[in-house]
């Protein structure tokens, strides 16, 4: 038999019994949040293609807001319908979990994205022709144009004539909205993914749009593109690790579903697949595979030693994107990490806990210590986000329901603070765009006390000062860690909090106690969009700090994973 014929016979055998392939059973209603967002993203692409340029901005903005709000309403509906607790189950043929943590995280991601859309849509900060001649004097007041913080023509080579022409013409890039929606769609699946392949696909669905968004900064195009390339390369590496880990775990368990792997981990392999007879139940595969998958997730989380991309990407990306990434990606990635550790690998707890302890300690201390030397506000916030990832990991290693609920609460609290902080960063500008160098922030408290005070509130929340959401979150996480016997982790946690407090305080000193410089930046007056985003951030920070009980309850009810 010729090789061609043998392949042909395989085909005919496979196609021989078409009736035996069951049509997948999809619970559309239960997946509606994701479907709404992804559907809206597709419509957004169509808008780019079909709607005249001058109408695109408003239609895209409206579409994104409506879609995210509708998806959020769907999440609320599902939670109210008991899918967070009694009716929790795994939908879509075992691919996507609909349970408490998933719904809580999806709700958080959707709210965060809703606010991120506000900052994406901000068009009062950049002067229309921001190129040469856009001096602060001209940009003050009347000369504000109508462009956002995204590149006029991303395809143009930085510094080329084509780019300058695009800038002069005041082009804008409305495709950021559908790109954002695609990313959100992936993030919604990521923490709910209940088999390793879905996990991987969700990862790619939200990562690819983020790589793109990072490259789109209107100012400092080279820095932005460099950030995107770094993010893409390192992200591709980590995806490859993850995928390799998935393959090894499949070899170990003979399945990619979380429940199946968990069963093999705890009870051993029952039915040996003949094709995998040599590998199934081999602990080496399990350990290496689990480690590789964890690496992929820890990369997204930004934990030391997989954090190298964070500062560069946070600095180079357009600030609204940075805010969105810092908040939503972290939520999604921690959700996936929690599910993996709590559903797939609880039987391996004694193996991964010491490792995660180490990672948590390294992350807390590393983030806090390196942040001290930063001179750029966006890099500083990037390192601070690393330190916060460490605090979150302290909750993750608690391996208790309290641990899950505390991490959920912390994620909610942290993401609003982050969004608000980056929104403030977009406001502080000089002739070169955003003035992110810390030295330029000197005396900001004298020029615009309100903006500086708001930023100080965010910094204090980052530092975990009582009466802010940061404190409530930190307390919840450390409490869970202490109860699980990780007392020394808590001690390291508070020590690194003390170190971290130093650089947050330094920024406050700079803003309030230093004299403003003559050529310092001005604070732009934003449209109601950014104002709303910042106001929501401040409100959430204070409400979660003063009266966290309702949200702790919510997180507590949502802390059981379905298996």
């Amino acid at each position: 038999m010729s090789p061609v014929a043998s392949v042909h016979s395989l085909w005919t055998v496979a196609a021989g019994a078409p009736g035996k392939i069951p049509a997948p059973h999809i619970e559309y209603a239960e997946l509606s949040p994701t479907l709404i967002v992804l559907g809206a993203a597709v419509i957004g692409i169509l808008i780019e293609a079909l709607v005249p340029r001058r109408h695109r901005y408003y239609s895209q903005l409206l579409l994104s807001l409506v879609a995210l709000a509708a998806a959020f309403a769907a999440v609320i509906g599902l939670a109210a319908g008991g899918f967070g607790s009694s009716k929790a189950h795994i939908a879509a043929m075992g691919a996507v979990a609909v349970d408490g943590p998933a719904l809580f995280l999806q709700g958080t991601i959707l709210l965060v994205s809703l606010i991120a859309v506000f900052t994406f849509a901000e068009r009062r900060l950049e002067p229309a022709a921001h190129g040469e001649g856009a001096s602060p004097a001209r940009t003050k007041g009347r000369a504000w144009g109508r462009v956002d913080s995204f590149a006029a023509q991303p395809a143009a080579v930085p510094g080329s004539a084509a780019e300058q022409a695009a800038v002069k013409a005041g082009f804008t890039t409305t495709e950021v909205f559908p790109i954002l929606l695609f990313a959100v769609g992936g993030m919604l699946i990521f923490p709910a993914a209940s088999d390793l392949l879905t996990l991987f696909i969700a990862l790619e669905v939200f990562s690819l749009p983020l790589y793109l968004l990072c490259a789109l900064a209107r100012r400092q195009r080279l820095l932005s593109q460099e950030a995107a390339v770094k993010y893409f390369l390192l992200g591709a590496f980590s995806s490859a690790f993850l995928l390799f880990g998935v393959a090894l775990l499949y070899g170990y368990a003979g399945t990619v579903t979380y429940a199946g792997i968990a069963e093999v981990v705890s009870d051993g392999a029952k039915q040996i697949d003949p094709a995998l007879a040599g590998t199934m139940g081999n602990d080496a595969l399990l350990l290496i595979g689990a480690a590789l998958v964890l690496m992929g997730l820890l990369f997204k989380v930004g934990a030391v030693p997989f954090h190298m991309w964070t500062p560069d990407v946070y600095q180079g990306a357009p600030t609204p994107v940075t805010g969105f990434m810092a908040a939503a990606t972290k939520v999604a990635a921690f959700g996936a990490l929690l599910r993996l550790l709590y559903v797939v690998l609880p039987g391996l707890r004694w193996d991964w806990r010491p490792v995660m302890w180490g990672v948590a300690i390294l992350t807390m201390l590393g983030g806090a210590i390196v942040a001290i030397t930063q001179t750029d506000i966006k890099r500083l916030l990037a390192y601070s986000s690393i330190a916060h990832a460490g605090f979150l990991l302290a909750g993750v290693v608690a391996t208790s329901e309290d641990g899950v609920s505390s991490v959920l609460f912390y994620l909610g609290a942290y993401s609003f603070v982050t969004l608000g902080a980056f929104a403030v960063v977009t406001l502080v500008r000089d002739a070169g765009g955003e003035a992110t160098a810390l030295s330029k922030w000197a005396g900001l408290g004298r020029r615009s006390p309100l903006v500086a005070a708001v930023f100080a509130v965010f910094l204090l929340a980052f530092a975990g000062i009582p009466l802010t959401s940061g404190f409530a979150g930190k307390f919840a996480v450390f409490k869970a860690a202490a109860q699980s016997g990780a007392g020394w982790l808590v001690v390291v946690g508070v020590l690194s909090s003390a170190i971290a407090a130093f650089f947050y305080i330094r920024v406050i000193v700079l803003m309030f106690f230093n004299e403003p410089k003559a050529d310092g930046p001005t604070v732009a007056v934003p449209s109601p969009l950014t104002t709303t985003a910042i106001a929501i951030g401040v409100t959430a920070t204070l409400v979660l700090g003063l009266a966290p009980q309702y949200f702790l309850d919510l997180a507590g009810q949502a802390s059981v994973f379905v298996r």
Partner: protein, 552 residues
């Protein structure tokens, strides 16, 4: 439900802070008056608490309020006061109006400064003072460890802005340098206290874990924990208890401040304006010593006994070290700061002597030290604002030019060195007697602190007020009416409490006895019968005169 009096005492200044901060930039004077009014109302409310408080009552805490707050953390919004807390709330609310009056012009914008519609330092200054007051009052009232911790930490932020944002413009030519030193002092203050607070946070979480482990559900209620321990339902392992105690004590020792954690205080007091310095030493730092009494001793009695020897030695070092460094200072405000360190040493000595005289005396000491330091520091502030210098060497012969100022300064100084007849004498005497009855050697060595106190106060007075009139000093005006209004009542109070401290001792003693009963310590049988009310002043008298001799 009864009227939430304690909440109101704290809520009034908090609301006042918001209202003051909200006034527009041009309404500076209105902001001052509003702040003053609010602080006086708060004092009136505190007096209501003090007069309706029943010292003889059986229950350890009165006016209790308790509401569910964060049930996930086992936190209840639980307030209640014992005699110690009432006395300290009265002190705090009493001092704030004087602090506001004394700082009336401290936060006026510089005349040459460009007008800026948004920058409102005056409103900010008074709003921050009221915010600190609200948080301090809540920390005195909290009977829930978590609630206490929240406000104990949160008060750092307004304090930090008060220290870093407002200077006394006594830096001379070098105003930029002064601003830098000031912001450094503020950062140092914040980092020390934040580090202390965060270590305490670990202990707070540990306490929760222990109670959750043994009582089924975690709790922060002081009373519940104390009762559970007494009933044997809660047993904290020795090692754990010691670690938790150290976590709590570290934070309070930073705040108090105890040697060797004191180094933030001289900078913070020296660089800030004198009303803010009073706020630090007379009000905020008292939370530290108060918390030792209320939380360290009651939550961890065994560990407290275990740590007592070391703490007593540290307190003793504080007493002597603070006094010695005060003698060596060239800067008036830093001198008073080091004197305060010495006094805080006495307070901690009294607390950990674990006798009723010692702890009663320590509580009185907190109140009296607040009043006497306020008097001395505020007069010093008036003096410094006249001359524009903090250096002792820049003064001389002031008493010829401004006799009233010099006189009030002298009385404040004499109170600081615990002259008999003035209030601090009573408390210092009680602390020494209390310490001596259990730890005679330490008591004797601590007496040296008094000798040194006489030295630094009298030398300070001699160098600044007596002698030939220096040319720059010759034109100094005497105290103005506003300044007299600040100083006169404080001095009157010092005299009154010096001869008749009974109202205060009656208030404080039952609470002290309660604390001691929790710690399970009984007074050693006294060899000499000592009454809590001085009339027994004779004992100290001889010593005192020797001191004055020695000082000369």
């Amino acid at each position: 439900m009864s009227f939430p009096l304690l909440t109101v005492v704290a809520a009034v200044p908090a609301a006042g802070a918001v209202a003051t901060a909200a006034l527009p930039a041009a309404r500076r004077t209105a902001a001052k008056w509003l702040a003053l009014l609010v602080s006086v109302v708060t004092f009136a409310l505190a007096l209501v608490v003090a007069f309706r408080f029943d010292p003889g009552s059986k229950s350890p805490y009165q006016f209790t309020e308790s509401h569910a707050w964060i049930s996930d953390f086992g936190v209840r919004y639980a307030l209640g006061v014992d005699g110690i807390a009432v006395a300290l709330i009265a002190l705090t609310t009493l001092l704030i109006p004087f602090i506001i009056l004394a700082g009336w012009h401290d936060a006026d914008p510089l005349e040459e400064a460009a007008p800026n519609r948004r920058w409102r330092p005056t409103q900010g200054f008074f709003a921050l003072i009221l915010a600190v007051e609200a948080m301090v009052v809540i920390s005195f009232e909290a009977t829930d460890v978590f609630v206490f911790y929240l406000f104990f930490e949160a008060m750092l932020i307004p304090m930090y802005f008060l220290i870093g944002g407002f200077g006394d413009r006594a830096g001379g030519e070098d105003e930029d340098g002064a601003a830098r030193r000031r912001s450094n002092a503020a950062v140092k203050f914040l980092l020390y206290n934040l580090a202390g607070g965060l270590i305490m946070l670990a202990a707070v979480i540990g306490l929760y874990a222990v109670t959750a482990d043994q009582l089924g559900s975690g709790t922060f209620s002081l009373q519940q924990i104390v009762e559970a321990r007494a009933a044997g339902r809660l047993h904290i392992g020795t090692g754990t208890e010691r670690l938790l105690f150290l976590g709590f004590f570290f934070a309070f020792a930073v705040k108090a401040p105890l040697w060797p954690l004191h180094t933030w205080l001289p900078g913070a007091m020296g660089e800030s304006t004198s009303p803010v310095a009073v706020l630090i030493t007379a009000v905020v730092d008292k939370v530290g010593t108060f918390a030792m009494l209320r939380f360290c001793l009651q939550l961890f009695p065994e560990a407290s006994s275990w740590a007592t020897p070391v703490i007593l030695v540290l307190a003793l070092i504080s007493v002597l070290y603070g006094a010695l460094l005060a003698v060596a200072q060239r800067d008036i405000k830093r001198l008073i700061a080091y004197a305060s360190i010495s006094h805080f040493g006495f307070i901690i000595l009294g607390i950990f002597a674990m006798t009723s005289q010692g702890q009663g005396g320590a509580t009185l000491y907190m109140v009296n030290h607040g009043i006497s330091t306020a008097a001395l520091m505020l007069v010093a502030g008036f003096l410094i604002s006249r001359r524009g210098s903090r250096l002792i060497a820049d003064y001389g012969g002031v008493q010829k030019v401004a006799p009233i100022l010099a006189g009030t300064f002298l009385i404040g100084g004499l109170a600081t060195l615990s002259l008999p007849g003035l209030a601090p004498f009573v408390s210092e005497f009680l602390v020494l007697v209390g310490t001596f009855s259990r730890y005679p050697v330490i008591g004797i060595i601590a007496t040296l602190g008094i000798v040194l106190a006489a030295l630094y106060v009298l030398v300070l007075y001699q160098r600044t007020m007596t002698g030939p009139v220096k040319p720059q000093v010759s034109g100094l005006p005497d105290l103005r009416v506003r300044e007299l209004v600040v100083v006169a009542p404080l001095i009157a109070l010092l005299l009154f409490l010096g001869v008749y401290p009974k109202p205060l001792t009656d208030l404080v003693n039952p609470a002290v006895d309660h604390t001691l009963s929790v710690v399970d310590k009984k007074d050693p049988k006294p060899t000499v019968q000592v009454d809590a009310v001085p009339g027994g002043g004779r004992h100290g008298h001889a010593v005192r005169e020797q001191d004055v001799e020695a000082a000369k």
